[in-house]
């Protein structure tokens, strides 16, 4: 891979992406069009996040890549290897030790710091897309701050289902101005969007970058009488006993038995090392032994 520039992209392209990132940071929640490049991985596999990470990385950085909260899911492995090969940077699975974290579908459980950057992979950056398929229309709606359609949708959810029927990619309002898609994170993660780290969102196929500067005010859309409620499975982690983390439900056998385990693998491993043991945790230690 030595024929390629550091982190694959040429410097002109990185410059173009950095300009889009800076504009995004200057106008939190606003979708900045950028000339997304064709990456050597398919659209939909995180090309937007990869381009943002490539434009943000420096040789001294330590990178963490997660998908569904886990470092070892196949696509996270693939993206991590891509940057190991093209940038030769150090990688880590430890949230605390990472300078840049590229993520798909989760925000790590551990609080991030001011010196960290969280890069999201975004499939559909437009929060209004499923209400209005035309980009020409949605851009107008954003510029006029015309978000009535979204509130009507949430209201109709309540009148039909008794609750807002959106469980991930739950729309937020940024600094009282732009309605933004937080990428398909579970709504459990929405409160964490107000954080110390810089958050950058890259949508490659849709050619958009947007950003949240540190400590930006991010409000999940709701109604006074139907306030936003972040939800998770009503269990504790069967491996580390955490009650505050987002859980994956794992089917164990064909009898329908299942267990719940942290989706954030680094968080779960850290707790297990610290001696926390969930309902099924000991049994596994014995199995391994």
């Amino acid at each position: 891979m030595s024929n390629y520039n550091f982190a694959y992209l040429d410097e002109q392209t990185k410059r173009m992406i950095r300009r889009a990132i800076l504009k995004g940071l200057a106008i939190p929640g606003y979708q900045v069009p950028f000339a997304s490049r064709e990456m050597p991985m398919p659209y939909g596999w995180g090309t937007g996040g990869v381009q943002v990470t490539a434009a943000t990385l420096t040789p001294e950085d330590r990178l963490k890549v997660i998908d569904q909260g886990a470092d070892d899911t196949t696509n996270a492995v693939s993206i991590r290897k891509f940057f190991e090969a093209t940038a030769g940077i150090a990688t880590t699975e430890a949230t605390q030790q990472a300078c840049i974290i590229q993520t798909r579908h989760r925000i790590p459980e551990a609080d991030l710091r001011e010196d960290q950057i969280l890069v999201y992979q975004v499939p559909i950056p437009e929060p209004l897309r499923f209400l209005e398929p035309r980009e020409t229309e949605t851009r107008k709606m954003h510029s006029l701050e015309e978000y009535g359609l979204m509130h009507v949708k949430l209201y109709e959810d309540i009148s039909q289902h008794g609750a807002i029927a959106t469980s991930y990619a739950y729309p937020v309002k940024v600094e009282g101005r732009y309605v933004m898609d937080p990428s398909p994170i579970p709504k459990f993660d929405n409160p964490k969007l107000e954080m110390a780290a810089i958050q950058l969102f890259g949508a490659g196929r849709e050619q958009r970058i947007y950003a949240l500067p540190p400590y930006t005010k991010v409000v999940s859309l709701d109604f006074e009488d139907y306030p936003f409620v972040p939800t998770k499975a009503d269990h504790t982690c069967d491996m580390c006993d955490a009650s505050d983390s987002y859980l994956d439900e794992v089917i164990l056998d064909d009898q329908g038995n299942r267990m719940f385990v942290c989706s954030d693998t680094d968080y779960c491993a850290g707790r297990q090392q610290a001696g926390y043991v969930g309902a099924l945790g000991t049994a596994i230690a014995e199995d391994v032994a």
């Binding site: 950028f34 064709e38 696509n75 290897k81 989760r106 980009e135």
Partner: protein, 367 residues
């Protein structure tokens, strides 16, 4: 018992090794060479060059070999390679009127200066499997050879223009924007639309064009001219201060002549659709011309009939097969975090439906 899913890395490596084996197939069968693909599967090579937006038959053939004949995958390989190439300049506009034509036909005139030249076409073959091809080593009898025509082969649509019967295209010297270097913003221009259509998926553009023929935005197209052949590519070298020929490329160009009864702004006249692609790609170039014409409704003051092929945003947002296939296939990546939140939601909604919570408004009224 649950074991955390580890070993993604080894699984990926093993999958790649298996894929390489599958690509090679049965080792007792001779391996396909890149020149064989280039020479004998040249229409596949052409498609990969067009939709990959890179004129390089050898690389396209290599991509087809590497992708096991999956042409969209091959196009993707070419696109990903193309994007890393430095741009050292732009060519002069090519002159298709000077094309050395292998094939040149018009459906609107029985004959025309330059003649009808059938060329190497499937058009009048009977689609009967040729089992002789299954027996290897058969020599192909040489086709008859004539002296190359030297008379000029002017564009047929220009003959209509002498009477003012066809709408005149206004020439423009501005360098068109580059779809691959700037984000597409809508509404766009005709040159950008043509770029997008040229790179667009052949099947998608064909389907869109076909829909106009069947009445969804019908525009009554005739193939005014279809020409296939080689043209010189010239480039101005700044140090020299003049243009020199840097190579030749094979192109297919299609001009359609479309009936037009006039609109509020335009008199009755024929109008044009245009298709231009690398290599021999007749289906693609004709499809492109029909869709181009359908998308020009606004400029010609026609009515928007609400047809898909008239809808610039719809066509341009969905014609790229690399974008489409990537996004379509990404749903096989893990989505279990989102799915988990959907599980929680559906369970909650089902619980609520079985035991409806008291209506909040009623509760408030009771207070």
């Amino acid at each position: 018992m649950y074991v955390a899913v580890k070993g993604g890395e080894r699984a990926i490596e093993n999958a790649h090794a298996w894929l390489a084996e599958e690509r090679r197939g049965d080792c007792s069968v001779t391996e396909l060479s890149v020149p064989q693909i280039r020479e004998q599967l040249s229409l596949a090579v052409n498609r990969v060059m067009v939709e990959g937006s890179l004129y390089d038959p050898d690389l396209a053939a290599l991509a087809i070999k590497q992708s096991r004949g999956d042409l969209i995958e091959a196009i993707f390989l070419i696109r990903a390679y193309r994007t890393t190439l430095p741009r050292f300049g732009s060519s002069e506009p090519i002159k298709t009127e000077d094309m050395a034509c292998d094939r040149r036909i018009s459906a609107t005139f029985k004959d025309a200066p330059g003649g009808q030249v059938l060329g190497p076409t499937f058009d009048y073959t009977h689609r009967l499997l040729d089992f002789k091809l299954a027996a290897e080593g058969a020599d192909v009898p040489a086709a008859a050879v004539a002296k190359p025509r030297t008379d000029p082969i002017p564009h047929i649509t220009e003959f209509l223009n002498t009477e003012g019967l066809i709408q005149t295209e206004i020439p423009c010297d501005e360098t068109p924007p580059d779809l691959t270097r700037e984000p597409m913003e809508l509404p766009t221009s005709r040159e950008l639309r043509l770029q997008a259509l040229a790179r667009g998926d052949e099947g998608f553009v064909l389907g869109m064009a076909y829909s106009t023929q069947r009445g969804y935005g019908r525009n009554h197209a005739f193939v005014g001219e279809l020409r296939i052949g080689t043209v010189a590519v010239e480039m101005e070298i700044p140090e020299l201060g003049f243009s020199i020929e840097i190579g030749e490329i094979t192109l297919t160009e299609c001009d359609t002549v479309n009936q037009f009864t006039g609109s509020k702004t335009e008199p009755p006249q024929f109008t044009r659709g245009y298709g231009l692609v690398f290599g021999q790609s007749e289906r693609k170039s004709i499809s492109m011309a029909l869709v181009d014409r359908a998308l020009r409704w606004k400029e010609l003051g026609e009515d928007n009939l609400g047809a898909a092929a008239q809808d610039e945003e719809f066509v341009l947002s969905h014609c790229d097969n690399i974008q489409a296939t990537g996004f379509l296939e990404h749903i096989k990546l893990p989505h279990y975090v989102d799915f988990q939140s959907e599980l929680e939601l559906v369970r909650k909604l089902r619980r609520d439906a079985a035991h409806p919570p008291k209506c909040r408004r009623l509760q408030n009224e009771q207070l």
